[in-house]
């Protein structure tokens, strides 16, 4: 299968210019990988700062404004620059064309433009760190975001620009999935990762524009004082929350759906067994994407929203919980009668199921009207969304890195260090965030740099846990860098997987397939 003289997409062209002007979806994926991982490092440092500050009550080195700035950057960087672009831009870009047997995405130039728009937005956002910073929280709630003297307009425009990049990527992936599938690859035969990226793309295209207009109005509010969200002029801050969450809840599904797609791939590959309930999982992805637009108000039960609206949102949020439960049970059923190995990607997949189960059930608790009144804006919510975001999306992200690393770079990595990284991240994660459920139940509010004495011991445990997670992620980083430098040559199909990307050489050639693949069966034909 190796092409002429070991040619592949990495050594086909040389020089930085060829990377920064490349239209190859694989190279653009690498550009995204480097930028997203850098921002992840910055966001991670902010997280460690927060946990260090909360090690004991009273203001240590971060008080008032500086703590608010660190928590805002942790939120904004992690949401807009790591976890929303993360899986779709890195693995979606690299493997969507490979999974459906295409040579490239539908609009390669648009794909490269998306990366530049993303980097322009990210640069704008990071620039606020050196000007007058921002301290509004990643949610920019008015009227505080109107009154505060920090660089909210720059940050808001940065988020608008990054939203534009997200729309362009989503648009690109929808057209690619519709129009560029290989002959014989019907929608019923595409891998579940493609279903996940496809439903995420629908969310990106349909939800991000409302964030766009909300942020523009917030900028207009600060520059001209138009008064739409400013109560002093008759505006309604709760309307800002409606507009903001109309985007931001679909955004959390933009974060989790690609991760679910990866888990479907990992569970089937390492159980050497066809997926259980392909159609159920595929339609659950689309179902989640559709229903995710109806549920945003469960962030606003106590914000001044009417009881009637709260009841509607609580009911609809219960409905969106069902497809998620279906997926979990289908993965569980896939393990049944499989032939399971515990390679590091599989450990991360099992870790995902463990943590996402806890994240899911606590989500139902928060969706329940009576309980959310107590839990809203406490550490219970912080623990919930970290369980589904870090426990869900980031576990899947690291699992995907280990799973696809041999294919992306043609190098194997050290399995022992990979498993060690899992232990650190998994244990560290639980030690960090499980106590926060208890802190939330005890009533500790979020975004506090100082807390009353009863919360001290659990916060200490949580901070220690955060160090373990930090170590774990650094082990992953060093392991993968070491693999690039000294890793053994990777075979074309190290894990015996059945999806199309493993039928080409590692790393793939510039034009992916030597001859157009003709697909005759489903993606998980482990017979």
């Amino acid at each position: 299968m190796g092409s002429a003289a070991g040619k592949n997409y990495i050594n086909e062209f040389a020089g930085l210019k060829s990377w920064f002007t490349s239209l190859d979806h694989k190279r653009i994926a690498i550009l995204y990988m480097i930028s997203v991982l850098t921002f992840f490092l910055v966001g991670g440092i902010m997280a460690l700062l927060i946990r260090a500050e909360l090690f004991s009550p009273g203001g240590q080195f971060l008080t008032g404004d500086s703590y608010n700035q660190v928590l805002t950057y942790h939120g904004a960087i992690m949401v807009f620059m790591v976890i929303i672009p993360g899986i779709p831009a890195i693995f979606g870009n690299f493997f969507l064309p490979l999974h459906i047997g295409a040579k490239d995405v539908a609009f390669p130039r648009l794909n490269l433009a998306s990366w530049y728009v993303f980097m322009f937005g990210a640069a704008l956002a990071v620039s606020t760190m050196f000007t007058s910073k921002i301290d509004t929280g990643w949610t920019f709630y008015t009227p505080y975001s109107i009154k505060t003297g920090t660089a909210v307009v720059t940050m808001v425009l940065a988020a608008f620009v990054m939203g534009m990049s997200s729309i362009l990527t989503g648009l690109n992936f929808i057209v690619t999935t519709h129009k560029l599938r290989a002959p014989g690859m019907t929608m019923g035969r595409i891998p579940l990762f493609v279903w996940a990226i496809y439903s995420t793309a629908i969310l990106q295209v349909l939800a991000t524009p409302i964030l766009g207009i909300t942020l523009l109005l917030l900028a207009a509010e600060r520059i001209f004082g138009v008064g739409i969200f400013d109560p002093a002029l008759g505006g309604d801050p709760v309307l800002f929350q409606h507009f903001f969450w109309f985007y931001s809840h679909p955004a959390v599904y933009i974060m989790i759906l690609p991760a679910m797609g990866i888990i479907s791939e990992l569970i089937t590959t390492y159980s050497k067994k066809t997926i259980f309930g392909y159609t159920a999982i595929a339609y659950s992805s689309i179902g989640i994407a559709a229903v995710s637009f109806f549920v945003w108000g469960h962030h606003m039960y106590v914000s001044g929203q009417s009881e009637v609206a709260g009841v509607i949102f609580s009911f609809l949020t219960m409905l969106v919980g069902v497809p998620t439960a279906i997926k979990m049970f289908n993965w569980l059923a896939t393990l049944y009668k499989g032939s399971i190995t515990f390679d590091s990607p599989m450990l991360y997949a099992l870790g995902f199921m463990f943590l996402f189960a806890i994240g899911g059930v606590t989500g139902i608790m928060l969706a329940t009207l009576g309980l959310d009144v107590h839990f809203h804006d406490t550490y219970f919510v912080v623990a919930h969304f970290h369980y589904v975001m870090v426990g869900g999306t980031l576990m899947a992200l690291v699992g995907a890195f280990y799973y696809w690393w041999p294919k992306m770079f043609g190098k194997m990595f050290s399995e022992t260090y990979a498993r060690l990284s899992f232990v650190f991240i998994f244990v560290g994660f639980n030690v960090t965030f499980f106590p926060q459920f208890v802190l939330g139940a005890m009533g500790m509010p979020r975004r506090y740099f100082d807390y009353i004495a009863p919360y001290e011991s659990l916060n200490k445990i949580s901070t220690v846990g955060s160090w373990l997670i930090g170590i774990g992620f650094f082990i992953v980083l060093f392991n993968l860098i070491h693999s690039l430098l000294k890793g053994a040559k990777a075979p074309d199909n190290p894990w015996g997987s059945k999806t199309l990307e493993w039928t080409v050489q590692s790393p793939p050639t510039h034009h992916n397939f030597d001859h157009d693949p003709v697909v005759t069966a489903g993606p998980y034909e482990y017979r």
Binding site: A102, K103, D104, A106, F107, P108, L110, I167, L171, N172, I174, V175, H178, K179, L180, V205, L206, T208, P209, I210, G212, I213, T214, L216, L217, A220, E221, F224, G225, V226, G227, I228, D230, L233, G234, G235, D236, L239, F243, H511
Partner: protein, 219 residues
């Protein structure tokens, strides 16, 4: 690429390597264009939703605000934009039937209509600025009856400002397509960029069709 722009079948367009043929590329491009138009509708739609909500909360304030708008200018602008939509559609029509020169003239007329629209907008804005009817902090109209009239002009300038910006973007795109047409890059088999710019221009007209009654007439 032939420099002589009168030759109808100028440089043959080569479809990108990852598409099977020109038609496959065309329908993919069209779908991409429509997806982008959805995001335009959703973005402007957010403003319309906000407008409707506050129109119901402060009806008399909105009525007072609308009374300052000159519906004659609004009506004239509507005719201008409908005309420009027609000439834009004609531009595509002519390219499809091979009359590239006529298409260029149609595109130039569309640009002219866009310019007229912006000039009328300029007069409306100066009229408002002169009266002090500005959004938020800059509002300085002494005889305002309702106390938060500034919000109406917040909406007015946000909606017409965003729409005006899109008219300018549309005009820039038309100019780019006009230049390429004069260079003879389009013919009856390849005219996707013109169609894309055309649809974008019709979206701009579509939004004005809703903006006109909303701001000028309903009041």
């Amino acid at each position: 690429m032939s420099t002589d722009n009168h030759v109808t079948t100028a440089g043959k367009h080569h479809h990108a390597h990852h598409f099977k043929d020109a038609w496959h590329e065309f329908i993919s491009a069209k779908e991409g264009i429509w997806l982008f138009m959805v995001t335009e509708i959703l973005m402007f739609g957010g403003l319309f939703v906000g407008y409707f909500i506050y129109h119901m909360k402060y009806p008399e304030m909105f009525a007072e605000g609308a009374s300052f708008l000159d519906w004659r200018m609004g009506a004239f602008n509507t005719f201008v934009l409908i005309g420009s939509s027609l000439t834009m559609a004609l531009g595509i029509h002519y390219i499809q039937v091979g009359k590239n020169k006529a298409a260029s003239w149609a595109l130039i007329t569309t640009l002219a209509c866009g310019a007229i629209f912006m000039v009328v907008k300029y007069f409306e804005y100066t009229h408002k600025i002169h009266l002090g009817l500005l959004p938020g902090k800059f509002f300085a109209y002494p005889e305002a009856v309702s106390q938060n009239l500034a919000m109406y002009f917040g909406f007015y300038f946000c909606m017409t400002g965003l729409h005006g910006t899109h008219v300018l973007i549309g005009m820039a795109l038309i100019t780019w397509v006009l230049i390429r047409n004069m260079r003879g890059e389009f013919d009856s088999h390849y005219f996707t960029p013109v169609e894309g710019v055309g649809i974008f221009w019709h979206i701009v007209d579509l939004i004005w069709i809703f903006l006109f009654p909303l701001l000028y007439l309903v009041g």
